[in-house]
Symmetry: C2
Subunit: 212 residues, 2 copies
């Protein structure tokens, strides 16, 4: 498949691109950096500014893209422009371009504000608000075939290939397993129009995705 | 009518409350300040924190409120918590309480992102993004009988009682005329489920509202 990864230089994004390339997908990675991030025949790169106007974003999208990942993040520095409005503009551009599949990496309990009293979340309140309204747009206002993958704290841990889905409590996530989960949902019918959260766990990723 | 004014100490809010009191409405003004803002038999005050959880906001709402005004604003200092999520939580609380009428003061072109290249708006981008998603929630996701009044730059000018509605260009607004417009839409059928912007102009306010 031809896949666009928005935020290819990030911690999850770079691992995701590597895995997609290894699976022989044609990958376009977006970054604001000039240097080429990956050296592979099936990789190309796009300098995409998601703070630009929606129509300018749309013009930069290739016609034959099959699926889009959003794994960009402002790191809390520009939540309104990047995590909220930047994300929604990419959804609108993708939708108006006629691309159907959109996979969003988000954060655990982004849609469930009743869980926001948790101290770990309260410290990230602005970030949660930004992700919340972007995720709400995707789920309630778009016509995209979305998958919304919500992760907890991202850790530089060795991946195990195993996760737990939709636990009542937030947990940690090995970045490699988040990236592997994003790859696994790409063409999984069971993940179509699904919202779920993941953490380090005991179920092989493919099996966890099949059970959604 | 019994009317709740969220943001009663603001420049528009205080003028709005005065006009509603003069019209013999029962007014509850919300503020974070301790001192009583107005001395009138038909005025009472509520210390309402819109950064609290939605259920806690809802518990503070009287059962017999007929209409709610949202004229609060963070002044750009807390856009995510106040102008966006705080506003939406008041909509949700009002709706879940069974109150139907909700009147929002917003900013010109809040829903029309194609106009955001205008330099005056570009300087206020974060504020516009916050207002945009709050206004979208009101118009697209709520079941409230809303009126969304969008004003341009607010000025301490003498009110003329006249406005122009839905000009192609943004303009200035005498605060007194914004407050008078908000009063005029309160029970105007023509303003039900309407979005419009106002500026200083030539049409008497009642006539302008009747023509919506």
């Amino acid at each position: 498949m031809k896949v666009l990864v928005i935020g290819a230089s990030g911690r999850v994004g770079s691992d995701l691109v590597e895995k997609l390339l290894a699976d022989n997908h044609q990958v376009i990675g977006t970054t604001r950096q000039d240097q080429q991030l990956f050296d592979a025949d099936n990789y190309s790169q796009l300098n995409l500014d998601i703070t630009a106007e929606k129509d300018d974003i749309q013009k930069q999208l290739a016609d034959d893209i099959d699926a889009v990942y959003f794994v960009a993040g402002s790191g809390g520095k520009d939540v309104l422009e990047v995590d909220l409005h930047g994300a929604v503009k990419t959804m609108q551009a993708v939708q108006d371009k006629g691309i159907k599949r959109y996979i969003m990496l988000s954060t655990v309990f982004s849609l469930d504000t009743s869980k926001w009293g948790n101290p770990a979340i309260a410290d990230l309140k602005d970030y949660y608000i930004g992700k919340h309204y972007a995720d709400e747009w995707l789920v309630n206002d778009s016509t995209l075939n979305y998958t919304l993958v919500q992760a907890g704290a991202l850790k530089e841990q060795v991946g195990t290939g195993k996760i737990t889905v939709n636990s009542d409590k937030a947990g940690e996530n090995a970045i490699a397993d988040v990236a592997a989960t994003l790859v696994a949902v790409l063409d999984a019918d069971s993940a179509s129009k699904k919202v779920f959260h993941i953490q380090n766990g005991e179920t092989p990723i493919k099996e966890a995705i099949a059970s959604l």
